[in-house]
């Protein structure tokens, strides 16, 4: 605190009347760095974790050559991509071609502004955080469509179209699932949503794990989990990549521009997993009241969800495109809509568990 006072004194001396605004900008930038730097590191090591997990499930060892247990593998991959040439196809719209990866990764990073890591630990405590999230994450689809369009390649264009249609379809199911959650939590703020999950009969009995939204909103939880797999373009919904049979929107990208798409995919995976943990699995709440709450619970939940993603990828074959669409439009959206009505009626009835 004393150090902070000294800092303010010093700042006033240097910047005069501008100091308060300078202080806000600088301290926010530092906080952003504190979120983004670990995030980028997790993205890098998530790729290693994925390759190790999937390798294990396929009776392989996964990368183990670079460094002990292959721990330096992400660095080696990054370095390799860094030194590769970014080929811009002739006839491509250069500005858009280079902006598309940024469109892809920026939303996945910007969304972290409103994610609460623990009670009160959040960069921007917006009271409409859920709305902000839905708005920001849906920008990601522009990256896909612009990448496909600006490449001046019909395969990339078709891939972009396909992915964009998929993303938009699943965003609807996801958005509806979020609406159900905000109905029962009576708030758009993520912090409030977590706190509302600490209430209920089970929570009072010490088993807050059964008071979290996943149980009372189970169908919505299932829909949401599958939707985020589709939303992040992961197997079995990886229409965007489909290396072996169809080619996706980033067909023409190479080097660091390609790496950005990959980082965007993994960053949004972490983001969606965190959201699932916050919305349905009680965020930083501990599952049993004999353990203290804390951010480690959030990390543990996110880790489990991510491993679950890899597990799914190692197990299931890729969906056909029409099956993806059928699942989104004919199954998920009706299910959430029905469940929304059911929950609304439930909330109004005397049996409501969300009072």
């Amino acid at each position: 605190m004393i150090a902070l006072g000294k800092l303010h004194e010093f700042g006033h001396g240097v910047f005069g009347a501008f100091w308060p605004s300078v202080f806000i900008v600088v301290s926010t930038l530092i906080k952003i760095a504190c979120i983004v730097a670990p995030l980028m590191l997790s993205v890098a090591y998530l790729t290693l974790l994925e390759r190790k997990t999937i390798g294990g499930m396929q009776a392989r060892l996964g990368p183990n050559r670079v460094g002990p247990f292959g721990l330096a593998q992400p660095l080696a991959d990054g370095l390799k991509l860094l030194f590769k040439e970014i080929v811009i196809p002739s006839g491509a719209d250069k500005a858009v071609f280079l902006a598309a990866p940024i469109f892809s990764i920026a939303p996945a990073l910007a969304a972290w502004a409103v994610i609460p890591f623990d009670e009160g630990i959040v960069l921007a405590d917006v009271n409409a955080a859920l709305l902000y999230l839905m708005a920001v994450t849906s920008i990601g689809v522009y990256g896909v469509i612009l990448a496909g369009w600006s490449s001046n390649s019909r395969y990339a264009f078709l891939g972009g179209m396909r992915s964009a249609a998929q993303l938009i379809s699943y965003e609807i199911a996801m958005g509806l699932a979020l609406i159900v959650v905000l109905m029962v939590s009576n708030s758009l703020s993520l912090g409030e949503i977590v706190k509302s999950q600490a209430r209920g009969v089970f929570a009072q009995a010490g088993f807050s794990v059964f008071s979290w939204n996943w149980l009372s909103l189970f169908p919505v939880f299932v829909v949401y989990m599958v939707s985020i797999v589709a939303e992040t373009n992961r197997a079995p919904f990886d229409m965007a990549e489909g290396e072996s049979e169809i080619i996706g929107f980033h067909l023409e990208y190479s080097g660091l521009a390609f790496a950005l798409f990959y980082m965007a995919e993994y960053a949004s995976m972490i983001l969606c997993a965190t959201l699932a943990a916050i919305l349905f699995l009680g965020g930083w709440l501990s599952p049993f009241s004999c353990f203290p709450n804390g951010f480690h619970w959030l990390f543990a939940k996110v880790f489990v969800i991510l491993v679950f993603f890899f597990w799914i990828r190692a197990t299931f074959p890729r969906y056909r495109y029409d099956q993806v669409m059928r699942l989104g439009w004919k199954v998920f959206i009706p299910v959430v809509l029905v469940w929304m009505a059911v929950v609304a009626a439930w909330m109004m009835s005397p049996l409501s568990v969300w009072k």
Partner: protein, 162 residues
């Protein structure tokens, strides 16, 4: 009613979890990977690797220059030239095997009446220029000298031992 329970079952993702149980078990099962330079897969005594020319215990070459190996080689990888040596015996003056052509079929070893040319278990050789893959008589003789013990042992047990 049956369709209701079907819907319920598919929504509980039962089959999917069954599939995931399989991959989940595989995660903890022993892995099939062989970490090559540190670990190696076992090789049979009949393994057909790099060729070797053998010598008699008294140091003379076994090869009698009959050219049967050259004739039988389906890839035409062997080139032999012969001339009588100082004792008037038939000897090879040139014995090249072009490893770019060789398909490691082992016919040469099978055809040889005196077991002069054999294939050894050794397979970890590499060169920087493709032309270096033409192994000459000197190299083949040296390989034979180097691995004579193993060659004898492998031929004695003939696939019965590991």
């Amino acid at each position: 009613m049956a369709s209701m329970s079907d819907i319920f079952k598919s929504f509980m993702l039962r089959e999917l979890f069954g599939g995931m149980a399989v991959t989940g078990r595989a995660l903890f099962a022993p892995k099939a990977t062989v970490r090559y330079p540190e670990e190696k897969t076992p090789r049979s005594p009949r393994f057909r690797g790099l060729h070797a020319l053998r010598r008699n215990p008294d140091g003379t070459e076994r090869c009698v220059g009959c050219k049967l190996c050259e004739a039988t080689c389906p890839a035409m990888a062997i080139t032999i030239e012969i001339a009588p040596d100082e004792n008037g015996k038939r000897r090879t003056t040139r014995y090249d095997i072009d490893m770019r052509k060789c398909i490691f079929c082992g016919f040469c070893a099978e055809a040889c009446p005196v077991d002069a040319i054999v294939e050894t278990r050794f397979y970890e050789y590499c060169v920087e220029r493709p032309g270096d893959l033409v192994w000459t008589k000197d190299i083949l003789l040296e390989n034979g000298a180097l691995r004579e013990e193993e060659i004898v042992r492998d031929r004695e047990c003939d696939g019965e031992c590991a």
